[in-house]
């Protein structure tokens, strides 16, 4: 990924041991519209709102809560276009999994691979981290409802309920 002239990582450590690009990405998330998720006994709910700059905006086509597999979906807080890239990659990875195993990709595996992609963008040449935190909701064959948060750093957490964004 990235231009051939930029084979070095733009995300570098500060003296205090922080990766400032990731901190700033988290700021972008904190300024994004609220998204939340709650895991219940028999399912998970994720939600966000759509607020537009003008009454003339046609909001119908804009999707924020997106299905990824038959058993999982995403919602986000942060930079919308970055989110769409992650949804595309996650869908493709889930389909590749299905092709290999003829089984729906489990939510946990989906979270791990998406988180892995996000981490790559903190340690590759010429790219910046994704400016989104994701909430991943789903249920596998075992019927257990699951809710995960994935951050720009690639760190992920399981939640019973949580909210991200403003």
């Amino acid at each position: 990924m990235g231009d051939s002239a930029y084979s070095f990582s733009l995300t570098t450590f500060s003296r205090t041991g922080k990766l400032l690009q990731i901190e700033y990405a988290l700021n972008a998330v904190a300024n994004g519209r609220t998204a939340l998720g709650i895991a219940a006994k028999d399912g998970v709910v994720i939600a966000t709102d759509k607020k537009f700059g003008s009454a003339l905006v046609e909001g119908e086509g804009v999707k924020k809560v997106e299905q990824v597999t038959d058993g999982s979906g995403f919602v986000y807080a942060g930079v919308g276009p970055d989110y769409r890239v992650l949804v595309r990659k996650a869908r493709k990875s889930a389909q590749a999994y299905f092709r290999e195993y003829r089984e729906v990709k489990p939510v946990g595996q989906l979270v791990k691979s998406t988180a892995s992609v996000m981490q790559e963008y903190t340690q590759s040449g010429g790219v910046r981290p994704f400016g989104v935190s994701l909430l991943v909701a789903g249920m596998d064959g075992d019927g257990v409802p699951r809710l995960f948060q994935v951050d720009p750093s690639g760190a992920y957490f399981g939640w019973k309920a949580t909210a991200i964004g403003k």
Binding site: R99, E100, Y101, G108, Q109
Partner: protein, 204 residues
Amino acid sequence: MSILEYNGAAIIAMAGKDCVAIASDNRLGISYQTVAMDFKKVFKMNDRLMVGLAGLATDVQTLDQLLRFRMNLYELREEREMTPEVFTNLMSNMLYEKRFGPYFCEPVIAGLDPKGKPFLGTMDLIGAQAMAKDFCVAGTCDGNMYGMCETLWKPDMEKEELFETLAQALLASVDRDALSGWGGVVHIITKEGITSRELKGRQD
């Protein structure tokens, strides 16, 4: 002689009542010359799944290693066992990846699904799957094996009868085939686990 017949093999898997059994012969040859009488062709993947590989011996061994590799990674990542259906599809995918330079191997997959029901599957060397409820065969005497199985198999056999039937079918099939034989081994998979028995056959 075709490459699939170079080393010789005979594999049969049969379904019984809540159990499956898979058997193979023991011969390894280099064309007409027998080189080993204890060559392993059936491999345990987990306590409820075994795969028999018929064909070129180097590919039999390599595929066993590759399947082990994939299984181990799957179990570590997913923290669960692979079901026979998923395994069959994985194998089909692996074989098709080499569509234009294939592994010369035809697998027979025998296991118990998560509900404990028998699962039998087979495929050609490039991954075309076929599942069966009764029996699956592969090897240099597959015609013989089909005939024996069709005649001897009946539904819902308990594991002792399944063992006898499978053993008779295998031994009679390999006796008329120069490239397979030298005894055999039968594995019976039930929900309690896997039991294996050696078969004494004609050593020629």
